[in-house]
Symmetry: none
Subunit: 144 residues, 4 copies
């Protein structure tokens, strides 16, 4: 499982990436494998739904076992099923790029990062940057 | 943040606009930047879901950082994602024209207005009229 | 049923009373007999739970058919039952003075007023003042 | 309103205090005046309800306008009413010491801090330490 120090490092690096890319204000959530929040930061100016979206991208990734880019792809082909997943999870699953699993050296799932604020591709690029900077692995390669 | 007097002025002017246009009975909600209700009025004859819709248009505008016309446009292209936003927000986001951000002289977000009762374009026109009458700025230009 | 103009008159008079008494910032909700909001205003500085409490005092009064002072008295003798009423109503019933039924000339229930912000006795005094100023009757006599 | 940097400073100083006192693992939430999360950290080993408690102490303080020590005192004398507040707030209000308002130089409410993990008195002492270290004011004096 991710330690608090790891989560803070991920957030710092993700937000650094967002500033380097001049993105809109971001919200970054880091969750443990049980879907519980380890650390969170919201940049000044981010809207009031950004926590829910960032959390939901990470929670959904943990829930299904792959990143929220793939959740989004599947939601496109199975919209009614994903509407049901949204409802059955109490709204905790959000299918849009920006949620990325954090994996250890043996590919084990250590947690997940979810980011919201800019375009999904950009949110995801920052999540990947944060995870890599902290020395962990991801399934995703940045598309932005 | 909007003061109570500002919110009342916005409602009065929005409802005045609705009567001048001979619209169906309107519900008008004014929210602070945190998504909490400052003032509300419902014209006689408005249905019992109008509060929820008016509130949701304003809340969704604050949540995402743009008016509910743009929410509506995006919901048209990303229907499953917006269904999930509805769930993750506990039903507090409604994507249909009529929710408008209230901005101050430095473009800072002071709150939002949401109106429901007539066609979305007409609801939005009244929200804009109310905001302008109270001396604030909006991102929207009336389409009705 | 109360008209919008009546509801606005009640709120204005209730807030006037609150200022005359130098009370803490108040939130005032006026509901129709179906428990739906007609009008609401929150004075500057009122906390973010005040809407829920003001609404709940009015809703609970309509729900049980008497003011929230009597709800509060009964909750004191039947705490477990009222805990269940809170749960079964989805948290919409709040038993504390400040919720007052609005009655017409034939004693018919036209709606209810709920106020939160100061001590319950003071909240109730403002609700009564608002209802009387608008020409309606109540079951309550001010205890503050 | 608190900026992200302020929230991070508060958390760092609060957790430093917790380590200096050798407390159990803490969860620390910092909220804006609208009750939305700005930043959060959970120390390694903290249980899975700690986020909800920390958030609820801060949210309840904002909701009612005073710290959660006073919420706790009032809940002791009005247990049924506070059970109802819990329900009407959707479980977002938690009455136990450890929630402290953050005030600016003019006593304006800038946000709130909520901490959970150890005894309420100790949680509160860390919240106060964090707020003071960041250069803000509180209503509370540490009782631990």
């Amino acid at each position: 499982m991710l330690k608090r120090d790891d989560a803070v490092t991920i957030i710092d690096a993700a937000l650094h990436e967002g500033r380097a890319r001049n993105l809109a204000p971001l919200a970054v959530a880091v969750l443990d494998p049980g879907g519980h929040l380890i650390a969170y930061q919201r940049e000044d100016g981010a809207g009031i739904i950004r926590f829910d979206i960032a959390f939901g991208k990470a929670w959904g990734s943990l829930g299904m076992g792959f990143g929220s880019r793939e959740l989004s792809r599947r939601a496109g082909t199975l919209p009614t099923f994903f509407t049901m997943l949204s409802a059955t999870s109490g709204g905790r699953l959000v299918a849009s790029p920006g949620g990325v699993l954090v994996r250890g050296r043996h590919r084990e799932v250590l947690g997940a990062v979810g980011i919201s604020g800019d375009l999904g591709d950009n949110d995801e690029a920052c999540a990947i940057a944060g995870i890599v900077a902290a020395g962990f692995q991801t399934d995703e390669t940045s598309q932005a």
